[in-house]
């Protein structure tokens, strides 16, 4: 099978002040990659005008673009409109679901969404006590459940999970440990490990590190722009001749 070149980035946080800047950096991406995955925090405040900049910067590329939203994209309560706007611009937006992107006859399956926090095994919040705490934990649990189903239903040659929040602590190294519960949840890793995937892409942890692995052995990559410091990073799957 042909190798698959996955370009990934997150936390581009676009706005009027950065119009045109990011696009310049991704010109020619089709020579380096087969698909571009964008792991959320596309905007700063989650406004429609910022989302329009995102659509302009990411649309019309010669390769497919798959994205999820991040917490910033929810800030103005316009997340649903933002999803529609990006989809109208030809971007595949995953909202706790999966999609198959055909690339030269190879089916690349991508599943995921924003994700959420809660912390990591042994040091995590649980569905106990006040309703606010329960709601927080339940939100992540429901998301993880939907991802598990989405992954299971994906009929693809390669599977990737695309998220904003982190599934592991490894890629948070550099962030203050006190805020880990707001940066991700082990439940996201558990969902991926249960169904299997080739790669788990996330962002959100601007001060974190790029590389990690889930307890089940799935490679995790934090592609937040301040972490990778490049317009995107390319990961080759099935790399016998990539």
């Amino acid at each position: 099978m042909r190798e698959m070149r996955i370009a990934a980035v997150a936390d581009i946080h676009l706005g009027e002040d950065l119009r045109g800047h990011y696009r310049k950096k991704i010109e020619g991406i089709e020579r380096r990659a087969d698909v571009l995955l964008v792991g959320g925090d596309l905007t700063r405040h989650g406004t429609i005008s910022e989302a329009r900049v995102v659509a302009e910067e990411l649309s019309g590329l010669p390769i497919p673009v798959v994205a999820v939203l991040g917490n910033h994209d929810y800030h103005s309560d316009r997340n649903e409109e933002i999803v529609d706007l990006l989809r109208d611009a030809g971007i595949t937006v995953l909202d706790d679901e999966g999609a198959v992107v055909p690339i030269d006859g190879v089916r690349l399956g991508v599943a995921g969404g924003k994700g959420f926090g809660g912390g990591f095994a042994g040091k995590c919040a649980s569905e106990f006590g006040e309703p606010e705490t329960k709601a927080f934990v339940r939100h992540t649990k429901e998301i993880a459940e939907r991802w598990r189903r989405a992954l299971k239903e994906l009929d693809a040659d390669h599977k990737i999970v695309l998220s904003h929040y982190s599934p592991v602590k490894d890629t948070l190294m550099g962030e203050p440990p006190e805020i880990y519960p707001f940066l991700g949840s082990y439940m996201l890793a558990e969902a991926a490990d249960a169904e299997g995937a080739d790669l788990f892409i996330h962002g959100h942890a601007h001060a974190g590190t790029e590389k990690g692995v889930t307890p089940g052995g799935i490679r995790v990559r934090n592609v937040a722009l301040p972490v990778i410091k490049h317009a995107y990073t390319v990961y080759c799957l099935n790399g016998d001749h990539c």
């Binding site: 946080h13 991406i29 490049h230």
Partner: protein, 81 residues
């Protein structure tokens, strides 16, 4: 004098919640009357706005803007998995 700890917390909240900034990743340290801002942002405009919001939240204190600009580089080498 207000406890530095609470000043830092107030600045951090202002940076996160003020519409001019919405920055969650800026480190704020307060030592006496000095306020230090550290972190990385992608343009000069944002760096200035962060300083403005921090100044407004800390009247009478000196704000040191040590935030660095990150220039997004062209894509580098690929990784084979």
């Amino acid at each position: 004098m207000e406890t530095p700890h609470y000043v830092a917390a107030r600045v951090q909240r202002a940076l996160a919640e003020d519409d001019r900034t919405t920055e969650l990743g800026i480190r704020v340290d307060v030592r006496g009357e000095e306020v230090y801002l550290r972190g990385e942002v992608s343009c000069d405009e944002r760096r200035h706005q962060i300083e403005n919001v921090a100044r407004e939240a800390t009247p009478g204190l000196r704000v040191h803007n040590e935030i660095t600009l990150v220039e997004v580089r062209e894509p580098g080498e690929e990784e084979h998995l």
